[in-house]
């Protein structure tokens, strides 16, 4: 790993960042740099900034929902708008915040982790990113068309979605565009990992982050077209007289749910697997020990991915399946606990007898481990069909998936940001702010989402703008927590902006003494082009 060429790199490192440089290997100046860039680091930055903006947009929607639910009765928004908020909050957080954030991490880190000069298809990379803003604009415009934005839930179940106004068409187009973007991004990532690894970097030597992304990208290539197909059929049902999902014409509304969740369940692993990869990078670094059970981690991820294709109907236990169907999907779903358990145990074993320190990335990794496992347990409770009958479509489910999506994916991305931002910007983040952000997020997250378990058990359905009196107290607790959680994220924004502005200690090439992957062999920030001559891995 000592043979990294610095000759080319140093020539550019001395240039001011905004130099108008038409040199073939340097960035364009000004805004055109970002529009025309084919550099994996620039595109990674674009993805991450985009997802941060979308995170706040989706967050404001979440706060609107929590504000309306602060007390029983209708106070702030109309029920239609409330439904649009829950729908768009879901779509934007999934397709606008978490997925692009994961792709941003992949763009920045995968070439550096495997010793590649860039992504395999640099221009397609640019295109995958620049498809996202138009998609989000379509979603934004949908608020202003007759009928308002889509209000049938992010799952878009017909016939409710066939009934909706033009906002639904815009949402369908937005999903098509975001799907195309994801598929291109995934093809790029798979090709990069399979073809561009440095000599000696065998698949089983790759950092686990690359493995989780390789498998995630396969899942994306397989299931995004399924979603595209489902919404295309929805579109033709709406406008071209087909009756795929209309019982009156011989269709079946439940078939949409089967197709949607055939996409939807792998999708939740698409959202969490890159997070697993980040956690698998952070924990060994701060425990100063190699990752425990590397091979079993890879097999566990592959196992989770394969199982994710045969469990989809656990999202629809209440549609009235035959007992055989219920049993099959219950057993398959319970099986997922095995590989997931293996991963959690491996992380714990990595920490065991280590030499741990607790900087912000490690705090978020531990927070992830703790809360994601809690979400895993509620997942197990929900897998038991008879219990799920009581809990399906209640706040218990809302609590469950926020434990795995927010405390899971999002916390891992926060941890990953603090972990790699010294590398990205060349400036250390403010440790005090990082810790404050962690504790704020951790405490308010639990105040927001823990009571939702009780609400769901007590019988509060999800997606309702108003509720009966017995749910009042816990809802108020949750709303207070949501406000605190939202405000805590401003700390993150501030800490990130400080790093980007270079306000902080200068980061050394390897700020974490436990880090032993390739990116730490590069200077911080890395030169615009890295590993043009591949490093040699023993």
């Amino acid at each position: 790993m000592s043979s990294i060429p610095h000759d080319h790199a140093t020539g550019h490192a001395e240039e001011p960042p905004h130099a108008h440089d038409d040199h073939a290997h340097g960035p364009h100046g000004g805004i055109m740099r970002w529009v025309t860039t084919t550099n994996h680091k620039d595109i990674g930055t674009l993805y991450l900034c985009f997802s941060l903006i979308m995170f706040f947009v989706g967050g404001i929607m979440a706060l609107t929902i929590r504000a309306e639910l602060f007390e029983p009765g209708l106070q702030i928004v109309h029920p239609e708008f409330f439904n649009s908020m829950t729908t768009l909050h879901g779509l934007i957080m999934i397709f606008g915040a978490i997925m692009p954030a994961a792709v941003g991490f992949a763009n920045w880190m995968i070439p550096m982790l495997i010793g590649a000069p860039d992504m395999a298809f640099a221009r397609m990379n640019n295109w995958s990113f620049w498809l996202l803003p138009p998609a989000v604009i379509l979603l934004g415009v949908s608020f202003f068309v007759p009928g308002g934005a889509a209000a049938g839930g992010w799952t878009l179940y017909p016939p409710l979605s066939t009934q909706a106004g033009m906002g639904m068409d815009l949402t369908i187009f937005a999903i098509h565009i975001m799907g195309a973007s994801s598929i291109m991004g995934s093809i790029n990532i798979i090709t990069t990992i399979l073809n561009l690894r440095a000599p000696g970097m065998t698949l089983m030597k790759m950092p686990l982050f690359c493995w989780t992304w390789l498998i995630t990208a396969y899942l994306l290539v397989a299931v995004m077209p399924v979603l595209a197909g489902a919404v295309t059929m929805l579109l033709t049902d709406r406008h071209f007289g087909t009756t795929f999902f209309n019982a009156a014409g011989g269709g079946d509304p439940v078939l949409f749910q089967h197709v949607f969740w055939f996409f939807g369940h792998p999708e939740v692993y698409i959202l969490i697997l890159p997070a697993f990869g980040i956690i698998s990078s952070i924990i060994p670094t701060f425990a100063r020990k190699p990752l425990f059970g590397y091979a079993s981690m890879v097999y566990a991820v592959a196992g989770i991915a394969i199982l994710s294709f045969i469990v989809w109907a656990h999202h629809m236990f209440t549609v009235g399946m035959p007992a055989a169907g219920l049993l099959f999907f219950m057993y398959a779903t319970m099986l997922i606990a095995v590989p997931t358990g293996v991963k959690v145990f491996n992380w714990l074993a990595t920490m065991w007898k280590g030499e741990m320190t607790f900087e912000a990335p490690m705090l978020f990794a531990i927070g992830f481990l703790f809360l994601f496992t809690l979400g895993g347990f509620t997942g197990l409770v929900l897998a038991i069909t008879p219990v799920d009958i009581q809990l399906q479509d209640t706040y218990y489910v809302v609590a469950h998936f926020h434990y795995v999506m927010v405390a899971g994916s999002l916390f891992a991305f926060f941890g990953g940001t603090y972990y790699w931002i010294p590398k990205w910007t060349g400036t250390m983040y403010d440790e005090r702010l990082g810790k404050l952000h962690f504790w704020g997020s951790m405490i308010f997250f639990n105040i927001t989402f823990f009571p939702m378990h009780f609400l769901g058990l007590a019988g509060m359905p999800r997606r309702i703008p108003d509720y009966a009196q017995q749910f009042a107290d816990w809802n108020m607790v949750a709303s207070i927590g949501a406000l605190g959680f939202g405000l805590s994220q401003l700390i993150f924004l501030y800490a990130v902006i400080k790093c980007i502005r270079g306000d902080g200690a200068k980061a050394p090439a390897k700020p974490w003494d436990g880090g032993d992957t390739l990116e730490w062999t590069l200077p911080s920030p890395p030169p615009y082009h890295t590993f043009e001559t591949p490093p040699v891995i023993r």
């Binding site: 007390e71 016939p159 409710l160 590397y294 629809m316 095995v338 703790f370 219990v387 007590a458 607790v477």
Partner: protein, 379 residues
């Protein structure tokens, strides 16, 4: 599990309880807060309740064990206490153990769950069959053997929802006509929907079944205890999704028989003569009621609709145009929009509501539509 709170509790009272809950934690006696599933009143719901309790405690034990280890490690194996890292990174025995043990635990969970699933799906031998239909946004119950049926609408006044009046004890969980069933009888439900997917859910019975338009699904329950049980629609079905509760009254067998015969008499008495010639005033008065319970959710009580989403009837071309077009629209609906077919309403109700819309707000056609016209249009 105290659910009967007196209504009209001021906001700051909630806030205080909420803060108390945050500060004092679960150890404190907070009767107002819910912690667990509702008290079951059917054998299946009881099994679900026990199953949840069982899995919950298994999870608690695993959670404490796993995170006990993690926190031990966090406190002992840290640099600040001078611990040095041991560089081990695999151990096949341990890895096999922690793959096999969870698998065995899962088997223990799957066994009782399987039994409950089989019990849950066994709808044979019912003592009573009721057809339940979900509409945007209300439920209807048809007693197929007895030959009568009725709609069940939310009765919570708008003033309570919009905070202009204190909220009642059963805020949002009260209806005009609850479903009534006898105690200790296996009741089979045939569940379907008229427009979009709904879901019929009564937590105390352990029954949640999606109502799917065009398809009939069945489920069952056998209530052990007379009483009034409340639930809600559990599948997002449009803007009034939060406002279509389910109320089931379980009566003793004698009371139930009395209720059935009263219902039969009412049904006979209320049967409208389709050829009756109505006084326009009576027809409009009846139409106003039909409008309020079927149409006002979208088109609004003032007939102005919701701009962009639901058209106004006040000044509408269809309402002020030829009557045949309006009759056809109500009977057939308009595909692809929220305007579904209303042919399930009686001829008299349809005639009444059409007459009402044609003679209300700014509409003054002066026409009165008789039930006979609807009857002809149906054919």
């Amino acid at each position: 599990m105290v659910r009967n709170k007196t209504g009209n509790r001021a906001g700051h009272r909630h806030l205080r309880t909420a803060f108390a809950a945050m500060l004092l934690g679960p150890g404190t006696a907070l009767a107002a807060l819910e912690w667990n599933l509702q008290t079951p009143v059917t054998p299946v719901a009881q099994q679900m309740y026990d199953l949840h309790a069982f899995i919950f405690w298994v999870c608690v034990v695993i959670f404490v064990a796993v995170f006990g280890v993690m926190f031990y490690s966090i406190f002992k194996h840290r640099r600040s206490v001078g611990h040095k890292a041991h560089q081990f990174h695999e151990n096949t025995t341990v890895e096999i153990i922690w793959t096999v043990i969870p698998f065995l635990i899962l088997l223990f969970m799957a066994f009782p769950a399987t039994k409950t699933i089989l019990a849950m799906k066994d709808t044979t031998g019912p003592g009573l069959t009721v057809k339940v239909t979900g509409y945007q946004w209300k439920w209807s119950y048809d007693y197929l053997q007895e030959g009568f049926g009725f709609y069940s609408n939310l009765t919570t006044p708008l003033a309570q929802i919009e905070n202009r009046a204190p909220k009642g004890e059963h805020y949002l969980l009260e209806v005009d006509k609850p479903m009534v069933v006898p105690v200790d009888t296996k009741v089979r439900l045939l569940i379907t929907a008229n427009d979009v997917i709904h879901s019929w859910w009564v937590p105390a019975f352990g029954v949640k079944q999606d109502a799917i338009p065009g398809f009939v699904r069945d489920t069952w329950f056998r209530a052990d205890k007379p009483g009034i049980y409340r639930g809600q629609c559990a599948e997002l079905c449009g803007k009034e999704h939060g406002f279509m509760p389910i109320v089931v009254e379980v009566k003793s067998k004698g009371d139930y028989a009395a209720w059935v015969s009263a219902q039969k008499q009412n049904a006979a008495a209320a049967g409208d003569d389709p050829n009756k010639v109505w006084d326009p005033k009576d027809l409009i008065a009846r139409g106003e009621k039909v409008f309020a319970s079927n149409c006002a959710a979208c088109h609004q009580a003032n007939g102005k609709g919701v701009p962009g989403a639901f058209p106004a009837l006040d000044g509408s071309k269809i309402v002020n145009g030829p009557e045949a077009a309006q009759v056809a629209l109500l009977l057939n609906g308009r595909p692809g929009t929220a305007m579904v077919s209303w042919k399930q309403l009686s001829d008299t109700d349809l005639a009444a509501v059409i007459t009402y819309t044609r003679n209300s707000w700014g509409n003054h056609t002066g026409e009165s539509i008789g039930p006979a016209l609807i009857k002809t249009a149906r054919q």
